[in-house]
């Protein structure tokens, strides 16, 4: 449990903090009038409202509804990938992330009678779960072929063919909702998270993992530079991802509390760019955005291969591809959950924390020595990171200005009033105050 708390505090720091990916070169380039910052920081966090494609009034908001991805195409791509003969060899990333999500389920000391897995694929999470943690599991996916090939698991499962944005379940049915690597193809992420919130019972938990932030930035950069040099312009080749900072706010706006967001960087090495692209296609992760260009010119591909190898290649000739996995845990509110302490009700001050360290020799009667040492270490880390975390939750809207889901300005796409854009500050105290010195140690 302590390691999870540590990752909460570290993960919300800036992406370039130590412990993240090893440093690689940044590339900046001007492309015509727009300035694109291509590199580890700030890229891919803008999800534009592309005009092409019909406007789906799925939430009743006609103007500005999100329609970035062609969901029919995504279903076809997943069905195709599932019908390939060598499909098993592409499962490595999903298996790895599924295992990590299952770890987080085990960390919650509860048994869940009924759970839902959204975008289950070949049930990468379910094969790690056991009957005493999850009793019954409902697997949903948009692609029928992948569901047919689900792996064996001892948990009782049921398959439902459903889209992630249109969950066909009644409110308050599930104790646990899982999602591994499928929310990054969802058009309207706030609405999907709200639906997840609705199908959860009070005191239910949502544990998810999605790719975000800087995933595949090397591929994106190489293709961008190659196309600019060869063809004079470029089009988005890698689909847009949610940034880490936006994710916490999305979850908060959907109604979850006691949020945990942490970032896992998975770096996979490939012999070259074509192997990477073939693997992405085999995983069913080909681009399906409406604004994608259907042709990749052979000159551009050759140029991109050369650029990728030169800019990011390692000594043994392989090239890395970064997958930044964002893990999120959110709880549906319930009376039994710890509430933020009332302001002004603190009985201890931060000044007392330094006194903690000096009492290293004495044994506390109610806690054993090991637990005491652990909690002291955590309190130290907590105070050290306090300032940084506060700064990062206040200082939102990074990089290329407020995107559609930036917390600083809410557009009318998920606001009932339909009026002019209104900007509201997100109160960081709401997130920070639940960690008062009393309750913090209870979570150790």
């Amino acid at each position: 449990m302590s390691s999870k708390v540590l990752t909460v505090l570290q993960g919300l720091g800036p992406v370039g903090s130590p412990g993240a990916v090893s440093s690689v070169s940044r590339c900046r380039m001007r492309a015509g009038a727009s300035y694109v910052q291509c590199g580890r920081f700030g890229s891919g966090s803008v999800r534009g409202l592309t005009g092409s494609g019909s406007v789906r009034g799925l939430s009743g908001f006609a103007r500005g509804s999100m329609n970035v991805f062609n969901r029919t195409m995504k279903r076809r791509q997943k069905n195709w990938a599932a019908s390939q003969r060598d499909r098993q060899q592409y499962d490595y990333l999903k298996d790895e992330v599924g295992g990590r999500v299952a770890d987080r389920v085990y960390d919650v000391a509860r048994t869940f009678p009924l759970a839902l897995d959204i975008g289950a694929g070949r049930s990468h999470i379910a094969e790690h779960l056991s009957k005493d943690v999850v009793q019954r599991l409902v697997l949903t996916d948009a692609s029928e072929e992948t569901l047919k090939q689900r792996r064996q698991t001892e948990v009782q499962t049921r398959c439902v063919l459903a889209d992630e944005e249109f969950l066909p379940f009644k409110d308050s049915t599930f104790d646990l909702v899982l999602s591994s690597l499928s929310l990054h193809w969802v058009n309207d992420l706030p609405a999907a998270l709200r639906q997840i919130h609705q199908v959860l019972k009070p005191d239910g938990v949502f544990i998810g993992a999605m790719v975000g932030g800087d995933t595949l930035y090397e591929l994106r950069c190489s293709l961008q530079l190659a196309e600019t040099e060869r063809e004079g312009g470029f089009s988005p080749r890698v689909s847009p991802y949610t940034a880490v900072t936006d994710l916490g706010n999305l979850l908060g706006q959907a109604g979850f509390n006691m949020l945990t967001v942490d970032v896992d960087d998975v770096q996979v090495h490939y012999p070259g760019i074509t192997e990477l692209m073939t693997d992405l296609q085999g995983m069913g992760e080909s681009n399906c955005a409406w604004n994608r260009r259907l042709l990749l010119h052979r000159d551009s591909m050759l140029a991109a291969a050369a650029i990728y190898k030169e800019m990011y290649g390692s000594e043994d000739g392989s090239v890395p591809a970064t997958f930044q996995i964002l893990h999120m845990i959110g709880w549906k509110p319930h009376q039994s959950q710890a509430k933020p302490a009332r302001r002004g009700s603190a009985t201890a001050s931060f000044g007392d924390l330094s006194a903690f360290n000096q009492r290293s020799g004495t044994k506390e009667p109610h806690t054993n020595g090991h637990r005491g040492a652990q909690s002291r270490h955590l309190v130290h880390l907590f105070t050290a990171c306090w300032g940084r975390w506060q700064q990062n939750t206040c200082n939102l809207g990074t990089g290329l200005g407020p995107g559609p889901w930036s917390p600083l300005c809410s557009t009318n796409s998920f606001d009932d009033s339909g009026g002019a854009e209104k900007c509201f500050p997100v109160c960081p105290d709401q997130h920070l105050s639940w960690i008062s010195t009393n309750t913090f140690l209870d979570y150790v």
């Binding site: 530079l225 050369a306 650029i307």
Partner: protein
Amino acid sequence: MSGSNVWSRSREKIRIFPELFAQCTTEAAAYGKCVAATTTGRQELKKDLCSKEFEALKTCFTNAAKRRGK
């Protein structure tokens, strides 16, 4: 789908791409350095800025393909 068609031919070409690319490492490195230099330097990346290096790379690549075809 059976037999030789556009899909299977292009898949085959993609499959042998790394083999041919591996025979042109020097030209690829030269081209890569030329483009990478624009990201750190003051010069903006424009169309055909590194066309000389790219032509060298492309001729090397097509020669490798011809050699393999024989």
